[in-house]
Symmetry: C2
Subunit: 381 residues, 2 copies
């Protein structure tokens, strides 16, 4: 190896203590239980599972999901889909609108290699997709996104859907496949009852559009949506034919704060391994993991298994930890971790944390089993 | 080109409108003026400029800084330094403590190719550096970090510095080069007067340690520290021999909120190009740039040149923009940007935003001039 190459952060067989930090760990036993639980719940409900790959951006995970019965995956951006197509995934839904000729051209190319679908909520998007698929000689499935309460993307009602179907009509290579009805703001409502009520409202809105389209003679083959926070309700709704959860494979600090009442529970499988890099004059505890190693948009990370340690501040490359029981800090009542100690952090928000890393260190029973490439990291176009 | 390759986001000669978004732009005229202003201020003060590369992570920018007179660069992590050494940078200070044998070994390897220095605040770090340099046959400069008010890393006083010098003594390959005295929490104090007062206090603390060491017969060749928010005071302090500003090359929303009173002003040169990807039923404005394209730890981005547009919420891959004058939102008093419009955003915090991207699109006079690799992106070990 050249002396100027960066050594890997870990090697298969290494104990956790040998991992060079910061490094993102995937605890395989918990991860595999999460995959099995979600697949079993979808199968029991007779609803298709199309997990969202924006959470993991990792082809090895997508292939593990497909192997267990997922019908395909979702991606949020066209460029994000590229490494999954390369890895052999053959059914990808872009769960988003796309703008511009460059993105439409790339999507039309991908559609030569995999069954691709995409959302629209404006006739201008349809015209761009039509031109690009015509040029590439490819076909696309098109879903109309409807707004079921998030007020982000999507049209409001069945007449607006029908106007878009009129625009699709002349383009034989664009097939209407159904509706996307995603309500992101439900996912992190904390109470189980309030999440149930909000999910019921979203499903009711989606169902009303489906019924109005049926009355107009238009069948929706697919109604897709849902996330980790709403999936138990989406599966039982009778409206969704397909669900798109992503974070369930990992869980994170934010989802960990949701109240869970049903049988569908998921475990933390994602950890950021960090090291105490400074203790100052013996009175502080500074970690080597900050804003550039974990996302803080949904709160600071927790310290796994050590509730007396509080990660209280993230700088670019430093994390400040205070020590104390019952929310007390640095009261001298608990021992500070020693210089060089390794701590495992639970990131507040998994999706943008994965987006900071090149690799997942897959571990089992305290040993490194494999390194998995986060191949779609940074692909936001 | 393989149909499964991702096309570049832009090509030299392209107009801005042809850039595939999200894409990080560097406005070269403003950037070059920023470099010249900082270099001129350091030269006038007779203080060495060692810009911090953690802000840009981009070898092309480091080489531009060195060409104008910078004595070297800072990096915050050992792995971060690797692409700069590869690009020919021959003087790098790791402005941080490092822990563990793997990092010490990599640093000792880099020191065979470039003059490297690093901070310590504990004898255990010195022992790891001594072992690694002995094994590699290389030499390192070592700076003791002192805490001048941030209470992050660093020892408190001259006796603690002298204890570390005793530990350095037996290791001829480790040379004591001086002190690092960085006070990060000063940088974003808004008022010019309060920043001046806080910087004076930090410099006073550093000066007291320097004087106490001199009284003990120990000269400090280098006293390094300072950032974009404090640099005008650091340059005038008579204590710092070297300054480490990073963000001045770009500026960002957070630094833009600092009150500036002196002659040393910097311009926004960093923009995230984004596109309106959805307008829903014509009543909304959703951008294709969210948490995965820009850092929000120091606030949401501003919309450049359009004060009537307000970026109010960031999802993973969506940005929600509201429209209105005088802080009003969606009051119907201003026109919404059309679907497909390109907006330029000013990120709230430059460092972690650069860390999300592979490339900077360097532009001048409305045209793409070059693509610069952000080669140290993601290198946090």
């Amino acid at each position: 190896m050249s002396p100027l190459a960066l050594p890997p952060s870990a090697r298969p067989g290494d104990p956790l203590s040998a991992i060079d930090t910061p490094a993102l760990l995937l605890e395989l036993d918990a991860f595999e239980r999460n995959l099995a639980r979600m697949q079993a719940a979808a199968a029991a409900a007779g609803v298709a599972l199309r997990p969202h790959a924006k959470a993991h951006k990792c082809p090895a995970i997508a292939l593990a999901q497909l192997q267990r019965g997922a019908v395909g995956i979702c991606c949020q951006k066209v460029s994000e889909a590229l490494p999954f197509v390369r890895a052999g995934v053959r059914d990808i839904h872009i769960s988003n609108e796309i703008g511009g000729a460059a993105k439409a051209a790339l999507l039309a190319q991908l559609a030569l290699h995999a069954r691709m679908s995409v959302c629209v909520d404006h006739v201008q998007q349809i015209e761009a997709l039509a031109a690009a698929t015509r040029a590439a000689g490819s076909r696309l499935d098109v879903l109309v996104e409807i707004d079921v309460g998030q007020h982000r993307c999507g049209v409001d009602d069945a007449p607006a859907v029908l106007r878009l179907l009129d625009a699709l009509g002349p383009h034989a290579q664009l097939r209407f496949a159904g509706l996307q009805a995603y309500q992101g703001s439900i996912q992190h409502l904390r109470g189980h009852g309030e999440r149930r009520a909000a999910a019921a409202l979203a499903a009711e809105r989606a169902g009303a559009v489906v019924a109005a389209l049926a009355a107009a003679g238009q069948r929706c083959e697919v109604v897709t949506g849902g996330g980790t926070g709403s999936v138990e309700f989406d599966l039982a709704s009778g409206v969704y034919t397909e669900v798109q959860p992503g974070s369930y494979v990992f869980m994170d600090g934010d989802y960990g704060r949701n109240e869970v009442a049903g049988a569908l529970r998921f475990e933390h499988s994602l950890f950021l391994a960090s090291t105490v890099m400074s203790v100052g004059n013996g009175e502080r505890c500074v970690l080597d993991a900050g804003l550039k190693s974990l996302a803080t948009d949904s709160g600071l990370p927790g310290v796994w298994g050590q509730p007396q340690l509080h990660y209280v501040s993230a700088n670019d490359e430093h994390g400040i930890v205070q020590c104390g029981v019952d929310g007390g800090v640095d009261g001298g009542d608990v021992a500070r971790p020693a210089l060089g100690s390794q701590l495992l952090l639970v990131p507040g928000h998994c999706d943008p944390t994965l987006n900071l890393h090149e690799q997942l260190v897959a571990v089992r029973a305290g040993r490194v089993e494999a390194l998995w490439e986060i191949a779609a990291r940074g692909l936001s176009r």
